[in-house]
Amino acid sequence: MITISQAARRYRLSRSTLLYYDRLGLVRPTYRTAAGYRLYQEEELERLEWICRYRASGMPLEEIRALLDPEGRGRSRVEAALHRRLDELNRQIAALRRQQQVAFELLGGRGDGKRRVARAMTKRQWVALLREAGMTDAEMAEWHRAFERRSPAAHQDFLESLGIDPEEIRAIRTHSGKRNGTEVSDGGKAERESAVRRRRSRSPLCDRRPGSSAA
């Protein structure tokens, strides 16, 4: 069992968000320490992981709650299976895009017919382009937030087209979602986040690695 702060770090969420999920009944830790602190068990963490995945697909919290609700168990099992399948397919597509890029680079771009193969930009190329055009890291972070705000589905699709793997996409999108008003935020959190942003000298797009430690 782990504490709320440990759970928050593991899933790159804020404590406030986890408290909010508790209040909504989305994931409700049953155990407490002697001092009254919440403790998250393995099944609650697994539930939280699923909530993060569904959020990464742009699903609203109410819908996620319905999906995880025991009464809808039959339907939700099918949907859960489909979501797992989609996740796996996205992983494979990202891997294939990366292989495509490697093969293309090995060719050295020789031969006009072969240049047709890899016409998609990579993440590295986009970041280099935006940097050269004069975009700052803060502007790039804002770009992600604006993208997430305007169309979460198109944001997801765009990130996939760059061959970024699903875990990193989830991290980028979760980070981009924090300011759009659907997650609870407090003044302290905003302060901590800008301190974290100042420490990180690169944008979320090029910095995020699964497993890299958050604040």
Binding site: R115, R116, R119, A120, M121, Q125, L129, L130, E132, A133, G134, M135, E139, M140, E142, W143, A146, F147, R149, R150, S151, A153, A154, H155, D157, F158, S161
Partner: protein, 61 residues
């Protein structure tokens, strides 16, 4: 799976605070550094072939 449209893409850049100068640099750099991918991306945004030719011609100078 939802493609971003040209209007959305431009709006998002503006939301992020990109200036007109930066926008022009972006066009120029995209065309000079990655011409094939520039073409592919403009197609991906759903822009018509004639308009793409126009954009790319303007970006090249």
């Amino acid at each position: 799976m939802k493609n971003v449209t040209k209007e959305q893409f431009v709006a998002i850049l503006r939301d992020a605070g990109i200036t007109e100068t930066q926008m022009q640099s972006l066009h120029r750099l995209f065309e000079t550094r990655h011409p094939d991918q520039h073409q592919a991306f403009l197609e991906h945004l759903g822009i018509a072939a004639e308009k793409i030719r126009e954009i790319r011609a303007r970006s090249a100078d």
